[in-house]
């Protein structure tokens, strides 16, 4: 097809291989768009040719529908109703609404993430009934009308009772057919994700935003891989506590940082609720890499070695760059573990800014563990 040529040209521009000067007009937006109920909008890359045009928020327009003057039509960044498909030429900013499942699939394709193989055979087994066939006895509620009729038809033809001019078919008891079922056993795998975040003074809003986006994508991916998934959230400064999701992303504490407090709490949670024989366990820890003391770091390493790493599928540490953090912790981890080695279930990733999120997701989830 002729369009392939234009299409690959467009892809090349978007990837920045040719025509660097156009890149400035690419609206990639944030990786994560609006989040509705179970649906998100992801912006598809779009290159906007600059034109003289009106400042959109000055304009407004005309709409149709119920409502009183003063009623809201939606939040302010995008004009309501944009994106109507039409003929001819027109420029539209594009957002694709997809379900979380599809999103995970897209994510998997884009980043070429391997599917995760749940650990061991120890996974919980569930039983489910499934209709698999037909049998001559059963309850009337499961009667299969079509098959019954066919059997009756066959029999009446064979018996020479069938009259094409007056095709009356009367099923007798032997003709009756019923659906039958069998019970299937299928393994069910459960996973728990424990998010830990440093909320000490040095973690700013931008750093938290990065953690928020990254954890959204991690959740999306893991949800697509496991049937049941639970999430727990831990925040810490010098002490750690478990919080709900909202608090996790919105608290701001101050003061020092003792990472070991969070690791200890995580170990307690795992010990109490999630025996590693039955659960796939994914602890994620995000911080700016500042820890209180060398002693505490040593305690962390010990906890990781003894408890957290052995019981987890993978322990992930993401270090967000912040103007105040020293960024020492990741180096300490790398000194103590063979990070990057296939045997080592510890993955470290440095996230410099929002653009680095994609790469870091790939580092975390690319291992297929």
């Amino acid at each position: 097809m002729r369009i392939r040529q234009d299409h690959s040209r467009f892809r090349q521009i978007v990837r920045g291989k040719v025509r660097q000067n156009l890149r400035q007009y690419i609206s990639s937006g944030e990786l994560i768009g609006k989040q509705g109920k179970d649906r998100v909008s992801i912006p598809v890359p779009q290159i906007d040719i600059p034109r003289f045009r009106f400042n959109s928020q000055d304009g407004g327009g005309v709409g149709q529908g119920e409502g009183e003057p003063g009623d809201s039509l939606g939040p302010g960044d995008q004009e309501p109703g944009e994106g109507e498909a039409g003929e001819g030429e027109g420029e539209k900013a594009l957002e694709v609404d997809v379900t979380l499942d599809e999103l995970a699939q897209i994510l998997g394709e884009e980043l070429q993430l391997p599917r995760i193989e749940p650990r061991g055979e120890k996974a919980v087994v569930t039983e489910r009934d499934k209709y698999t066939g037909i049998r001559p006895v059963g309850p009337n509620s499961l009667r299969n009308f079509k098959r019954t009729y066919k059997a009756a038809l066959k029999r009446s033809i064979a018996m020479g009772q069938y009259n094409a001019k007056n095709p009356v078919i009367l099923p007798i008891k032997d003709d009756m057919r019923y659906r039958s079922w069998s019970t299937v056993k299928s393994p069910q795998s459960n996973a728990v994700v424990i998010y830990m975040m440093d909320v000490s003074g040095s973690m700013g809003d931008e750093q938290k935003e990065i953690v928020r986006i990254e954890s959204f994508w991690i959740n999306t991916w893991l949800k697509s891989q496991y049937e049941g998934i639970e999430t727990r959230y831990i925040v810490h400064d010098a002490t750690a506590r478990e919080v709900d999701e909202h608090t996790f992303f919105h608290t701001r504490e101050s003061g020092g940082t003792m990472i070991s407090s969070a690791y200890r709490l995580a170990a307690q949670i795992l010990d109490a609720d999630y025996p590693s024989a039955d659960w796939n366990i994914y602890p994620f820890h995000f911080s700016d890499g500042d820890n209180w003391s060398v002693d505490d770091t040593r305690a962390c390493v010990q906890l990781l070695k003894d408890v957290l790493i052995p019981s987890s599928n993978q322990f992930s540490y993401g270090q967000v760059e912040s103007p105040y953090g020293s960024g020492q912790f990741i180096k300490d981890l790398k000194d103590n573990f063979k990070v990057g080695d296939d045997e080592c279930a510890l993955v470290c990733s440095e996230i410099k800014n929002k653009d680095a999120i994609v790469g870091s997701i790939k580092e975390f989830l690319g291992t297929g563990r």
Binding site: N55, P69, E87, G88
Partner: protein, 510 residues
């Protein structure tokens, strides 16, 4: 034979329906160019739709971008292109493979509505009816330029042209052509005569009355007028020019191929313009006829009613805060038909202030059908709404205006007043929602810099887009470029001198 002309024949069943629908359409008074249908796969449909309906366009990444958007939305099940028809003689229309019969019939009925509109609407009367060939020629030309000068060079230049694509004069095709001569200012005077009293036009009078008929202050006025005229002559262009693209083609320092590419982009912009100017009318007309044909002429079978109703309501659904041109158009046509059937027009009706009488007004004029044919012949969206949008319609269809509330950072319903709705609608449609921009002075500051003027009518320009566009304009003009606009009430001049952007207050009258 060129490849695209080989239209694969429709399957027999569909061809049968096509003939039937064509007969019915003609019987109803629709009159169209020969219309050829082709059945295509969804992939091909996305391709053709990306090319704006044409099988062949010049190579450009934005078609690829459109393709990605369309094919992705198709893959994720977000949207489906049902119908595509191009204004050409013969008309070409596409049916999507795998659609149900009822869909295909609906699309055919709809397409005949469009085809009739293309042929008879005044605003399409100046469009090129051989555009299919022209587009293919454009493609060949641009491919050749790419071979000669390099893909990227030509592509970059196309981008620059596209960036100015909306700076055309939508009404110029409908004006009688200006001849060269008319452009020249009349009464050219040799320089030495300027200011000479005798050359001044004076009222005819006997010599002894001259002093009174042409008094000194009158002559002073005349002198000033003449001086202004001569000043104008030193200004170029003499009067502001709306077709900025044409002006650049004629005056910008371009090479031959660049001028041709600019011309190609301009031609195509003019070709597509009427579709933008008659969106509501055109879709309304086609929808009116597909409904009529599907429900009243026996095209549809009983078993198809539900599917048809589903498709139809999906196409005319109104979303909150969005104006659906299909819906607005079809309802307005029905409204007009009803009014003219009942005689709700003219002096008597307009001047009747008895609400009850108005509501029950029926003069059994029965002119509805005739009237809507007349409307589709003469109007574009602006004149259509200006003439036929009534307060009753506005209330019945719950139209409202909305605006942006900066404090709450959200869009809110602003008003349901008829006047405001109408004004807003018309403003929005004016110049197809594009700012009105003219070439004002090609010798600005007497340094052959280019000055464009934005006729500000209450809505500001987007500054960052404006600056990026100025950069592109500079690449054509090769001298500093400016655009005079306003920020709120403050007249502002945006400039780009090849290196830096600047912004200054600007007094238009100076």
């Amino acid at each position: 034979m060129i490849q695209y002309l080989k239209v694969r024949p429709l399957p027999d069943v569909l061809e049968g329906w096509r003939q039937k629908i064509e007969r019915i359409a003609s019987g109803l008074g629709l009159d169209f160019f020969d219309t050829r249908f082709e059945m295509v796969s969804y992939d091909k449909m996305s391709e053709i739709a990306s090319y704006g309906g044409f099988p062949t366009r010049y190579p450009h990444w934005r078609f690829g971008m459109e393709y990605e958007r369309l094919s992705k939305s198709h893959t994720y099940g977000l949207s489906k292109i049902y119908e595509l028809v191009i204004n050409n003689d013969p008309c070409y229309a596409y049916l999507l493979e795998g659609n149900e019969f009822v869909d295909q019939k609906l699309v055919m009925a709809h397409v005949y509505g469009h085809a009739d509109f293309f042929k008879h609407n005044f605003w399409f009367s100046r469009t090129n009816r051989r555009m299919l060939d022209t587009m293919a020629n454009h493609a060949t030309r641009i491919r050749r330029y790419q071979d000669l000068y390099g893909v990227t060079v030509v592509e970059e230049f196309i981008d620059v042209c596209l960036s100015l694509e909306n700076l055309i004069d939508l009404h110029s095709p409908y004006r009688p052509k200006n001849t060269e001569k008319d452009d020249r200012p009349k009464g050219d005077l040799p320089d030495e005569l300027i200011g000479d009293v005798d050359s001044l036009p004076r009222l005819q009078a006997k010599e002894y009355m001259d002093e009174y008929v042409n008094p000194e202050n009158f002559m002073e006025q005349q002198r000033k007028k003449q001086k202004d005229e001569t000043d104008k002559q030193t200004k170029f262009p003499v009067s502001a020019q709306r077709d900025v693209m044409l002006f650049l083609m004629q005056e910008a320092p371009l090479t031959r191929w660049q001028r041709n590419v600019l011309g190609i982009v301009r031609d195509e912009a003019y070709y597509f313009a009427p579709q933008g100017m008659t969106k509501i009318l055109n879709e309304g007309w086609a929808s009116y006829w597909h409904t009529h044909m599907m429900t009243r002429t026996g095209i549809m079978e009983g078993s198809e009613v539900i599917d048809y109703a589903d498709r139809h309501s999906r196409c005319t659904v109104m979303h909150k805060g969005r104006l659906n041109p299909y819906k607005l158009g079809i309802e307005l046509f029905r409204h007009i038909e009803e009014r003219w059937n009942l005689g709700r027009f003219g002096k008597d009706y307009e001047e009747c202030s008895d609400m009850a009488e108005r509501a029950n007004w029926n003069r059994q004029t029965g002119l509805g059908r005739e009237k809507i044919f007349e409307v589709r012949k003469h109007h574009n969206d602006i004149t259509f709404l200006d003439e036929y949008l009534t307060p009753e319609f506005c209330a019945e269809h719950k139209l409202f205006t909305f605006g942006h509330n900066a404090r709450a950072n959200e869009w809110q319903i602003a008003s349901r007043e008829f006047k405001e709705v109408k004004t807003k609608l018309l403003t929005q449609l004016t110049n197809m929602g594009q700012p009105v921009i003219e070439v004002d002075d090609a010798n600005f500051n007497n340094r052959s810099e280019l000055l464009l003027t934005h006729r500000h009518d209450g809505v500001d320009l987007d500054v960052s887009y404006g600056q990026a566009t100025l950069q592109n304009l500079y690449r054509l003009w090769k001298r500093p470029v400016h655009i005079a606009t306003s920020k709120g009430d403050r007249p502002t001049l945006l400039s780009f001198d090849g290196k830096d952007h600047s912004e200054a207050e600007f007094d238009q009258s100076a």
